[in-house]
Amino acid sequence: MRIILFIIQKEFLQIFRNKSMLPVIFVMPIIQLIILVNAATFEMKNIELCIVDKDLSTYSRNLSSKFEGSPYFVIEKQTFSAKEAIKYIDRGVITAAIVIPKGFERKIVRNEKNIKIQVLVDAINGTNAGVSQAYIISIIQDYNKQILSKFLPVNSPGNDIETSRRFWYNPELNYKTFMVPGILVLLITIISFILSGMNIVREKEMGTIEQINVTPIKKYQFIAGKLIPFWIIGLFELAFGLTIGKLLFDIPLVGNLGLVFGFAAIYLIVLLALGLLVSTIVNTQQQAMFISFFFMVVFILMSGLFTGIENMPEWAQIADKANPLAYFIEVMRMILLKGSGISDILYQLFAIIIFAVLMIWLAVWRYKKIS
C-alpha cells in the first residue's frame, strides 16, 4: 500500500510540474464546453427563404406572411423569377424558395383543381433539407386549413382536431441542456484516456520503464499507482465540468449526483484499463495516438452523442452494446435531465461493471514487466 502511495505521489508531482498540463486540465474543459455546446446543435431556425410571388394577390401575400411569422424562417430575398431564386440557392444565399404561380388567387376563389406551389430546396445537406421541407409543408397545410374553414358551407360541422404539445423535462426545448451532459462525458473520456494511455507509452519510449521494471515494485502496484492519479483527475474533471455546466448553461441536475459520480467512477476504470491496454500493444506515442484516435472516433460517433442510437440500423445498435461511451452518455442524460434513479439504470450499471472487470483483467494480463 505504501509503495502505491509513493508511485501516486511521484505521478502527481510529474503531472503538476509539467507546466502545460495545468491548462489542459483546467482551461480545456471550459473552452470545450463553451464551443462544443454552442456549436453542436441541430436546432433549425432562421432558414433563409426566397419568396417568388408571381401572383401578388391577397391570397399569395397571406401565404408569404405565414412564412414570415414562423420562427423557423427568415425571408432573405424576394424576386419575381424562379430562375433568379435558383441562382441564389446556387450561391448559397438562401436555403429554399417558394414559387407562387400566376393565377393563384383566381384558382382558389374559383375552386379550380390543381393549385400548385413550387418548393425548391437546397438539398446538399440532406437532413436539413428534409427538416426544412417538413416545416414548409406544415405551413402550407395550415394555410389549407384556413382556406377550408373559409369555404366550408356555414352549417356543416368542421372536423377540427386540436393538438397540444407538452415537452417534459425541457419545456423550452433548450438544446444546450441536452448537449452538456454528453459533452462532459466526451471531455473526461478524452482527457483520462489520452493522459493514461500516453503516460505509460511515454515511459516506454523514453526507456524509463526499464528502471521501474527492475525495482521490486509489483505489477499490480505499478498499475494501481499509474492509474489512480488519472482516476482522481477524471472525477475532478467531472465535478469541474458539472459546475461549469450549472453556472454557464444552467443545466437542471435533477437526479442524484452521487449516482452520477458512482457510475463515473466505474466508467473511468474501464477507460483507464483500456488506455493501459493500448499502451501494452504499441511502442511509440505516435502509434498510441493514431490507434486511440481511430477507436475514439468510432466510439464517439456511435455513442449517441450527436445522433440518436435508436435511429441507427439494427446491426449498429447491437454493436453499440460493446461501447462503454454509449452507456455513460445515456446514463448521464437520464440522471441529470430526467432524474432517473438507480432502479432505472440497473441494466447500464451491470453492463459497465462487466466491462470494468473484463478490461482490468485483460490489461493486467497483457501488461508484462519484461520488455
Binding site: I31, N38, K45, N111, D160, F294, V297, T307, M312
Partner: protein, 368 residues
C-alpha cells in the same frame, strides 16, 4: 537531392514498417465513411411511442393506425395510464405519448372539435421536436382529408424539388468532411508529433548536426505524410463513388490540386505546432483541441454553421477546413470551377504561406 530522397525513404520506412499504423491508415477512411453512411443519421424511424386512447372509437383507431403506419413510429403497448408515462420516460423506453380525450369521435362529429395531447420526452429536444411535428402533420392531414371528403373545395399542393441531391443522401455532406478531417489528422497531427518526437528523444540534435540542411530535414519529415494523406484522400473519393455513388461533377484534376493545397496547408500547420512545443503529449493535445475539434465541429461538416451563435460563425470563418469543405462540395456536387472558387482557394493558399512564414521565424536550429 539524393540526400533528401534518402532521408524521405528513411522516414517512409519508419511509418510503413509499423503494421498497426498501416492498418489504421487504410481502415480509418473506410470505417469512417461506412459509419457516416450507415450509422450516423438523424432520420427518425421506428421511434417507440405510447398511445393512450381514452375513447377507443372508430376515428381514434383510424388516426392511430395512420400514425403507426407512417414508418416513423412503433407502438409500445405497455402504457395504460397517465401515471405510467413518467416511469416509462425515465427508463427511456418511449419517446412520446399520444393521448386522445374521452368521447373523441363523438365530439368531433357533434361539436366539430376534438382534442389530442402529445406528450414528448424533451430531454432530447431535437428528437422531441421532430416527433411532435411529424405527429401533428399526420393528424392535420387526417383532419383535412375527412373534411374534404364531402365537399368540392380544392387545396394547394406543394411540389417539392430537392436540388443537387434529390434523394437526400447524407453522403454528399460527409464525404468532403471526412476528407478534411483525415487530411488534417495525418498531415497536421502526425507531422507535429513526429517532429516533436525527434526533439523529445534528442535525435533532432543528431539530424541538425548532420550535413543535411535543417529545412531539408523538415521537408524530408513531412513528405511521406504528404504522400500518405494524398493516397487517403483518393481512397475516400473512390469509396464515396463506388459505395455511395457520390459523383465528381467538376474537374477531378482541380479537385486533386485543391486537396494538395489543403494538405500543404495542414503540413505547415503541423510544422508550426512542432516548433512551438517540446513534448509529444502537448503537441497531441494542441492538435486535438485546436485542429481536430474545429475541423469536425466548426466546419459545417456535421453541424450546419448557420445555426450557430454569431461569435462561433465568425470563429468558423478563420477555420481552414471550412473553405476546403466548401471547395470540395462545390466541385463534386455543383460542378464548380476555379472561377467560382478562386476566393476560397486564395484564402487557403494565403493561410499556408502565413503558417510557413511564422514557422520559419520560430524554427530554431539550435537546442537551448
Amino acid at each position: 537531392m539524393r540526400k533528401f530522397i534518402g532521408f524521405v525513404k528513411k522516414e517512409y520506412y519508419h511509418i510503413i514498417r509499423d503494421p498497426r499504423t498501416l492498418f489504421v491508415l487504410i481502415a480509418m477512411p473506410i470505417a469512417q465513411i461506412l459509419l457516416f453512411g450507415y450509422v450516423i443519421t438523424n432520420e427518425i424511424k421506428n421511434a417507440s411511442i405510447g398511445i393512450l386512447d381514452h375513447s377507443n372509437d372508430e376515428i381514434t383507431k383510424q388516426i392511430s393506425s395512420k400514425i403507426l403506419s407512417s414508418g416513423y413510429f412503433k407502438l409500445d403497448a405497455s402504457i395504460n395510464s397517465e401515471q405510467e408515462i413518467h416511469e416509462a420516460f425515465r427508463k427511456g423506453k418511449i419517446k412520446e405519448v399520444i393521448v386522445f380525450e374521452p368521447h373523441f369521435g363523438e365530439r368531433l362529429k357533434k361539436e366539430g372539435i376534438a382534442k389530442i395531447q402529445i406528450i414528448a420526452d424533451a430531454s432530447d429536444p431535437n428528437i422531441a421536436n421532430l416527433l411532435t411535428n411529424y405527429t401533428e402533420a399526420i393528424i392535420r392531414n387526417y383532419s383535412i382529408s375527412i373534411t374534404t371528403q364531402n365537399t368540392q373545395i380544392s387545396l394547394i399542393t406543394p411540389e417539392v424539388r430537392m436540388l443537387y441531391n434529390p434523394e437526400l443522401k447524407g453522403a454528399y455532406m460527409f464525404v468532403p468532411g471526412i476528407i478534411a478531417m483525415l487530411l488534417m489528422l495525418i498531415s497536421a497531427l502526425m507531422t507535429s508529433i513526429s517532429i516533436t518526437r525527434e526533439k523529445e528523444l534528442g535525435t533532432m540534435e543528431v539530424l541538425l548536426a548532420s550535413p543535411l540542411n535543417p529545412f531539408t530535414v523538415i521537408a524530408g519529415k513531412v513528405t511521406p505524410y504528404l504522400l500518405l494523406s494524398f493516397i487517403d484522400a483518393c481512397l475516400i473519393l473512390l469509396t464515396g463513388y463506388f459505395v455511395f455513388n457520390v459523383p465528381v461533377n467538376g474537374s477531378i484534376i482541380l479537385l486533386l490540386a485543391e486537396c494538395l493545397l489543403f494538405i500543404f496547408m495542414a503540413l505547415s500547420l503541423g510544422i508550426l505546432i512542432s516548433t512551438a512545443t517540446k513534448s509529444q503529449q502537448i503537441a497531441m493535445l494542441i492538435s486535438l483541441v485546436a485542429l481536430m475539434l474545429p475541423t469536425i465541429l466548426l466546419s459545417g461538416f456535421i453541424f450546419p454553421v448557420e445555426n450557430m451563435p454569431l461569435i462561433l460563425q465568425y470563429l468558423c470563418k478563420i477555420m481552414p477546413p471550412k473553405y476546403f469543405i466548401n471547395i470540395v462540395r462545390t466541385i463534386m456536387l455543383k460542378g464548380g470551377n476555379l472561377s467560382t472558387l478562386w476566393s476560397d482557394t486564395l484564402i487557403l493558399a494565403g493561410m499556408s504561406i502565413f503558417f510557413i512564414l511564422v514557422s520559419v521565424r520560430k524554427y530554431k536550429i539550435r537546442l537551448e
